[in-house]
Amino acid sequence: MNSIRHLGAALGAAALVLLLWGAPPASAQGTPVGTAQNAIGTLVVVRSDGIEDRLQGKGALPLYEGDVLRTEAATQALIQFRDGVQVALNEGTAFKILSRWEKARGITRIIRLSQGEVWVTTGEGLKQLEVETPVATAIVEGTEFNLKVQEDGQSVLTVIQGVVQFGTPFGTCPIRTGTISYGARGKRCTKPAETNVQPAIAWKQALTQ
């Protein structure tokens, strides 16, 4: 009995240590971080070991940290992260799912957008999400926005609802509802200008209906 009690105490202590230590950096595949739910055409998911999975039509393809998602021409797709954040991919889009771990803030979900266009809505509540492009980063809390990476890397942010902090190495500026801003290499993001947001997100209507 004593040895069982000691074992229990040791396990309890180990659990306490793990709790105090905090969540480990999420870098390995293991627990899905979300699912791909719909694809018009074919969504290609390249796992970190190089294996390719595909989704055509509606489904629930698990997504993991380190996955690269890719849509070809005439393909669009919709995914949802576990915390409710929805991301739509327009045609010709590629991004990698990553994260940053901080002892003080926990896990921040990172979408590293190398090309194409995404629409993002965070749903209810504040979320820790950032979308990185080659020249800028959109820091998101509770909001809906569209972000497009052009061939030269220039990034176009349109905020449909809420506020997005749009940062480049040359400065960060808040972009609010109904405005657009451009991020270019070697420059601070442009001053937000009012815009009609509906044309910017018309492309994703078929996915979210």
């Binding site: 480990p24 771990w101 002892k103 020249v135 800028a136 940062g167 480049t168 190495p169 290499r185 070697g186």
Partner: protein, 334 residues
Amino acid sequence: MERTRAVPASLISVWALLALAGCAEVKPKDQALEPRTRIYVANESGNSVTVVDGTTFQVIGTVDARNHSTHDLAVTRDGKWLFATNLASGRLSVIDTDAMETVASIATGTRTHVVTLTNDNRHAWVCNIGENNISIIDTKTFRILGTIAVGKGPTGLAFSRDGQFAYVSNQGDKAVEVIETASHRIIKTIPVGTNPHFLILGPDGRIWGTNTGGTDIYVIDPATQDKVASLNVGPAPQQIAFGFKGLQGPNAYVTVGGLNKIVVVNADAKNLRILEQIDVGQRPNGAWANREGTRVYAVHEVSNDLRVIDTGTSQVIATVPVGRKPIRVVYHGG
């Protein structure tokens, strides 16, 4: 009952002595006289950073990088933050040096290799060998704010004295690219030699580099953006630190992995020549010097130790066992 309430006079004396002793320990004057000096060693196979007291050369802790293949290090000017690349994880660990613990892990890119802080310490630039780019990270928020596409296999990175230019060595291209920091555009590519690796700003304001795949070191002049000198030092030169031998100097202390030596070169780009060679451990790699240039710290991949060299006598004055496969070392002088 009354006896329990009374405090014995002897106990009061002990408290008074303890209080006085405590006050003496926190005198600002004493702190100013002995600023904290530390040596940090990245252990690639240990996935950790060994922390060594810079005065006593005693190991005072080992920090788990919480990632794999800890490779390169950069410490902020105030000494509070240490950034460590992790080659296999593709991540940058952020270490709080007061708490001696990893407090953040940032996904930068495949095969994260070296990290260098901008001169104002606002950004950390990280080379990702597997993606042929540089990630730019905000050192306060730990966010990646952008990337710069560079040549094949970026493995070395240094900034000019005025911060206007960044230099990145690309192994696959056998060249160093010059990036204008105001525009993030590559303005020149300088052929340098076989498998260029480490880069550092020298005391002469020039950029010094090693061709680890060859046998030579080279010097780039930011005034002309040309390679202005080179010198054969031996097989697999790794890193360079600068110090003085008494009145003589500054000298470049080059770790030469193929010789198990540190080769001392006079740091005059117009007249590079070998002054002496110092026997060290097995396969020396990382090198750093203290601010005064009187000590050079070198780590050894095979003998798994840090050796402290007194540049005045060229003698190894301390050997400190560290973690498995130490690659890089940095010093912070308080």
